[in-house]
Symmetry: D2
């Protein structure tokens, strides 16, 4: 398995030249596009990794998966989805124009910024509590109490966050968020600045792939159905306006972040974390996409595949 992972890294690293590291804040701009890593965890808790799998990076938009989960845990499915839809959109991730159209009632889905600001606002707790609850769940899932957020990145996000502030004011105007805007954005910017590596992402992935149970301990953090919901929404909306093509070509429910991470879930089987900071025009890791496409093909991981030759007996 690890041989396969290293081969996939080798085969796809040429893609770096076609991508571009995010540059809107200094901390992201300085990422090394040649650092590429992958880690896979199975339901038994076995880890397989390759490349720079333990390079730390900020989780960015992948955090949207967890704020959705927490919002549903805290406010219930109905409580969340009366304020955010779950439809894929051709808007870009930080778009707000749909909200401003005459028939724009709520954010399209929780995987774009406007939707994620809503889900963050729905996590229980005020001010600092909201983020503490978020951090605690990440630590629990990864079984790692050393997980922290990157203060420099957080401050940069906060300073350049005018687009997100505009979104928040529109949401407030539409009564989709209620608390103080700067408090919500603070929690949002902090959760985006949490530092993880590929192992952490693989652990988050296997948590969802395993019915919201932590593999090693078997501890269930929430209802399995929340995991199914999150996995479905990642599939239709997780890779920005490339989600459709990604589903067709890869078929692994995934969520990407602007720092170059991709979280992958193979229901019942694997959690996957990939890292490669050069991004394609949609904002997804360009090497990460290549690696996951290869991995899916080699191991037959697409959830859309009929797997007629012995799907369910498969052991790798």
């Amino acid at each position: 398995m690890e041989k396969l992972l290293n081969r996939l890294i080798k085969e796809n690293e040429y893609l770096v030249q076609y991508g571009k590291v995010a540059d809107y804040i200094p901390a992201l701009k300085n990422a090394n596009p040649n650092e590429i890593g992958i880690c896979i965890m199975d339901v038994e808790g076995n880890l397989y990794s390759g490349g720079d799998y333990n390079k730390k990076f900020t989780i960015q938009s992948i955090s949207k998966v967890l704020s959705l989960m927490l919002a549903v845990m805290d406010k219930g499915e109905e409580g969340v989805f009366k304020k955010v839809d779950m439809e894929p959109t051709d808007e870009s991730f930080n778009s707000l124009y749909k909200l401003d159209l005459p028939y724009g009632e709520k954010p399209s889905n929780p995987m774009i910024n406007s939707g994620a600001i809503v889900t963050t606002s729905l996590i229980d707790g005020r001010g600092e509590e909201k983020f503490n609850r978020f951090l605690e769940i990440v630590r629990k899932i990864t079984q790692d109490d050393n997980i922290i957020y990157n203060k420099e990145v957080y401050i940069s996000e906060k300073e350049t966050g005018d687009k997100n502030r505009a979104i928040a004011h529109i949401l407030k105007n539409k009564k989709l968020i209620e608390e103080d805007i700067e408090d919500i954005l603070d929690a949002y910017f902090k959760q985006c600045s949490i530092e993880v590596d590929c192992i952490d992402l693989a652990k988050i992935g296997i948590f969802f792939a395993n019915g919201c149970k932590i593999p090693n301990t078997g501890e269930a953090l929430c209802d399995e159905e929340i995991g199914t919901l999150v996995t479905a929404i990642m599939t239709t909306c997780g890779m920005y306006d490339f989600s459709g093509e990604y589903a067709a070509k890869v078929g692994i429910p995934s969520k990407s972040g602007v720092s170059g991470g991709i979280l992958g879930i193979v229901p019942g089987r694997f959690g996957i974390g990939v890292y490669g900071p050069a991004l394609d025009k949609h904002g997804n890791s360009i090497v990460g996409y290549g690696i996951l496409k290869g991995l899916s093909k080699e191991l037959g991981l697409s959830i859309f595949k009929s797997n007629t030759e012995g799907r369910f007996s498969c052991v790798i």
Copy 2:
């Protein structure tokens, strides 16, 4: 199993009152909203059915699944997707405005009218040949040479087809279709007018769920990968602008039609056909949605589910 199917029909038939039969052409308007049917086929070719499973209705937009398949068979993935995208959209099914925006280059996906007019144009053959090829493949998949199209519906579609004509002229203007517009639309209107029942849909479903092989004969009509592609695009785009919520709540790759049919695919396991002509506001069968949601829950069919308790050993 058939007990379950009949129970699900009973439990969901109250939904009829919240739906509305399509009324843009007389043939559809006269459908009886209380006729509800379902049929399931497994990979061994066993059939389970309930209600009005042998009521005939026109296939309508479900035909888009097959014109996508045929276009890819005839022109290759690249040949098709340079003319149509595969991204879900918040446009409605017969929308064209995105094509007219400065950055609107091609139809969002093959499950909306504009995309399907492109895929139909890419099926080999000119004039009558195109549709004959389409009809032949439906007959092969369903192993039923009596499948025909409904002339009355075809003529009605043709007469009221101004929106589709507008779309076709835009496509022509953008050089995304090349042949005579009325020829392409003729094939398109005819394929939409093919009459099927729930059994036929279940057979189409199992064909895809079984790696593009006909269960009884084992005959492969095309590469398994085309089936995976079609299944993925159905998941992200198949239920109009309700595809995201449908994926989250049902999790069965599906395509609906305005006459009230829904085609479902459970990869490696089942093909499903459901009928119920009362539609919700998105244009999907309102009872069909209810039944499929129930079915998915009872049998654990969502492709996003981790199925931790014995997924792959499941027998029903």
Copy 3:
């Protein structure tokens, strides 16, 4: 003349029933829709008035005319129009979605909120100075040092100003405004809260109709060309998304405000102020529109009229 004005009020007051007083802040909601006034001033400084012509109301969007003038005085035409366009738009006045589209570079024109926030930001002075400069020019034009702003309205605007804050953050994100957002919005909310009556509006109108000179004193406050520019932009953009029909039916360059005022300019001849707080669906005074349409017809005031029978010898 005054007989004519009172007749026009009488003839149009029935329209009140089809309109609706603005209700987003308490101070506006409490306006009496039956209070209707009009005042006209000619280039000699003669005043003609009718109805509740001396009822005070907040100037609201009519202030956009003056912030445009001041911005051009302070930064020059080029300095202003590199940051705001001068095209009419089908957007509504507080829209921002165009700014968020991929090709949305600057506000469409200075008569919608986004454009006016830009022009206010371009008035010389920081913090309080900006508004003081604005207030001073109003006092000069109206020759009335008692003109003040309504604190209660200002505070209400500030408290409910989330949509304008969203706009300001988008503008900041696009580097179209540079100063502190709350400072700019403060000046903006204050200038909207300045209290005027129909006489004051007529004086502002005649100032522009008279080549930017104060009639009684002959003092020129700025170049005549700025007046021509402001008058043209009022014509194409001044009555929200009703500007085109208003031009065709009335033909008097005008700007309306949400409190029910309309400022009218007949170049070289008259300044007009009308008041009637019941608004039509576009946000224009419904009675004001009726009165101005009647006035234009009776006196042949449309700037689009050929006035073949003795236009230029005009006596009224």
Copy 4:
């Protein structure tokens, strides 16, 4: 006067290099960008001209002014404006997307293609009669029975007319046009192909500037109010999505065509025809704009100008 006209041509001919001749049909592509002409007619019927004022070109979109007039003559203001709005738009001239939005009810105005197809459909007569009526009015206004349409241009327009066909099908779908689409488009393409020179445009201009009366004969072809209406709509909508800036910079109600003509109206004073086939990015004659801006400034023709120093006494 003619010295002035020739000077303005000289001063502005350098602009040719920044423009581009329309190239979507051969007949337009072959125009010589260095041919520049102007003609002005006053209410007494005096003609002043310069440059290539008698070069013939197809009238193109300037015909929209006359189809609007004829539609209002034949169906009344109400009959026309229940099917087309009179609001300026930020859409481009051949856009249709607004019509396809959920709240898109009718074309924004009669100066864009969709609106003009509606007004042409409202001219009395079926098939050939519609166009004959159009041609007859042009001949009457210009007092020239030799005016004809260019068959080659007409056929080219017809052959490349897919965008207009798309628009017509949308209009049909919305029941905004009722007759046979090809019949309406035929009349539309023919009227666009009528050949005129600057003198003809000046005659059309003075007709409107003179209360819809032919200067030499004094014959009134329709009510003066129709002229006021047309003039107003030209001002807010006549120069495509540059109408706002054009109003501010030139202030002469104008309509441009893709072949390089501009029709100008100075109410009560002048009719103007300008020709220069190189277009700016908005589709307006780039030299024509320059000349008209200069002319307006030199003679103080802007309808928004207060003309404090002796406006109405002016003789030239």
